[in-house]
Amino acid sequence: MKKIIIVLMMLAVPVLAKVDLTTLPARDSVQLTIYNSADITLARESRDLTIREGLNRLQFSWANTLIDPTSLEMMALAHQSDIDVMDLTFPPRVRELGLWNIQSEVSGKTPFEISYFTSGISWRAFYMGTLSENESKMTLQGYVRVTNNSGEDYENAQVRMVVGEINLLDQISMLAQRQYPYGSPMPIPKAFRETETLSRKSNTRSLGMLADGLMMAESAPAMMAKDVMKESLSEYQLYSIEGTETISNGWSKRLPSFKPKDVPVKNLYKYEERMYGPNVIRFLSFKNDKEHELGDSPIPEGVLKVYRNVDAQSHLAYTGQSGFKYIPVGEDVELNLGAVGNVVVEPKLMDYKTDNYRFDGNGNIKGWDEIRTFKVELKNTREIPVKLEIKRNFDSSYWTIKNEGKYGEYEKIDLDTVKYTIELAARAKKEFSYELTTYNGSRMDEFIKANR
């Protein structure tokens, strides 16, 4: 249902007096730019208005929609030097209505553009991943889903989506519902507020009813899946859906955004007590780059459901799901699929000794070392090779470490954390040991001296 109505008022008539109004034809075209980090959509519509030379008054109303009146703007798309949009007035004692004064030196049909923010239209990305039987490749399907609860039907709209975190000071839905578009310099008297709440309630109700009555508005199904064009603007990604879409109020629409086949993935398992407790966590890891059949554009944040091909007939098994964050081009992706029992990491303290006691003049202990030997046992019970990352924390910055066994690479992460990276073949076991020496009391000073 069309709730946004534009009326061109007869000339030289007092504002809001009963006059002959000409309701204008519907918008000629409309573009929606929808954001995902906040409830905001930039709508831009063009309409051909027949204006006269002199002063023109244009009334714009949007009852029962969620338009932010402070964002309203109007400009002529032709004869710009001859047409002056003088001011925008929100007249007293009416809501959801604005009045433009337009001074024109020309007359005739002129295209105008009206733009505004609305809340209630949103989009989100979500993904389906299908792993190959050997879990070395994944087919990734990306979708976008657009939902319109704005109160207004947008027919044949050019739909664009923005990926990015914009800075917003006020919620658009709040701005859309204020009694006065810019608030008032004084506190509103109580009587006013009560009536306002009442009208707000009935508003919502009528919105809901309208949504029910709108089941017919779905547009004809397209013959082919539409392309989504991606480009980067400032710090954001702009996705434009090919052609136009009709998204009626209350409706959602799902569109495919991309489908790279056979993305090489790694089965990554992580163990870090500080972060995950004594559990092994499974990750699917790949990179947003050419090598991984990706890398054209960043991947917007979303939820991925992962399935696995279990036979040649493409029967699927559900593996798990993971929410993931925005992934820039060239960045590693790690999809957390949760704790598992089929890859096992067991660290054990095998030996504890103290050593190198130092005494003061009175024979009291002033320094000593603690030496701990840990054995870490690793088991891969799966039939595919896996990669393991094990992080160990020491709670001290005075330490040295010695390693034994097949421990793979070892990397210092920060002052008290190291990381071991180990590849395990299918159905394989490994174990490695490390000896951690920590220094206490005056042994710290000796340690510092020795390392200088």
Binding site: R44, T70, P91, P92, N167, L169, S184, P328, E331
Partner: protein
Amino acid sequence: MKIIRTILVLVMVMATMAQGRIKLVALPERADSIVRLDNPQFTLIEEERVLTLQQGVNKVDFSWKGVNIDVDSIRLSVIDHPDEVKLLNVSYPPNEAALVWEISSNQAREETVRISYLLGGIDRLVTYKAVADKDETQVDLKSYIVLRNFSGEDFDNTQIVLDYGQTFMRDIRHEETKQLQFFKKTEVPITKIWTFDARSMVWDPETVPDQNIGIPVSYRIVNDKKSKLGDNALWDGKTRIYQNDGHDSTIFLGEDNAPMTPVGEKVELKLGNSRDIVVTQRKMDTKDINKIFTKESDYRNRRLVMFDREELITAKIENFKDKTATLTMIQQIPGEWEMLDCNMKYTRKDNNTIEFEVKLPARSADGPAKKELEMKYVIRHIRANQQPRVINR
């Protein structure tokens, strides 16, 4: 709705009762009026009215109802014959929003007077709209006055004035809000800046795996002649920033509150966050050195008096963008400190704050452009458990 009224009491001598006042002839409506909005807290109304004065002393009654006028602010100035027409005194009748001027004139005449007063419930907001070009090197900047009239009074054909920019002649109704464009500047140069502030932002994104740690992005505008501005201070106001998308349309980049910006000063407006620049900062080492203890014969009784704490900080900066960027990185080192080693140039902003400008190339086919800060400093600690305080003013 005319609520402010001026009445001329024509009869000089009247049978006055102690309480009741007799108001006689209403004066002509206000002629010119000005709504002056240059003071953000107070709105000054100036209105001109023509008084028909008789020779001698005239009483002029000025009363209002349902509006909030600061009584002490009411001024009357004589415009045409200031030497011959004098305001003698002002009387305030009991329990009434009114006053009575005694004006003497040396002859009967029509005299224009200007009445000014501070009126409550009417004010203005300033808002801005900036549209950046595709390269983000300049913006077209428009500024609007939003006049909010909830004063209880209507003004016909009044002049709306800020301290600079365009003035407007408009009717203003009670409870009306009006948005007026009062200046427009095209091609105002901007600088795009990315900021990592180690004082308030997450150091290591790996500790929050499901979240992007966005790097705040701002446009910097200098209020000076070089930037086609600099004639006046820019009022504070909400600024919405858009960008030309190269398809005859724009996208919205974000909004921020611009603070009041005097001439010569710069303003930084935050758009949003970049997630294509990633900073991973970690404390790689800390050691306590130069310990001084109290002199005790028993080791266990001695107390640490002072020591120096050495810290090694690394910050990996990755640019995943296909464009270059300059990151401003703010690091805080509190108290009494000394830099031992630092692989990048910095400026000291104040005792606790240093700032790095990190120029980042665009990403290459091999992956993101990387730079890594390594700094080692020492902080003096007095008394073992006392942490150094951040004092900057």
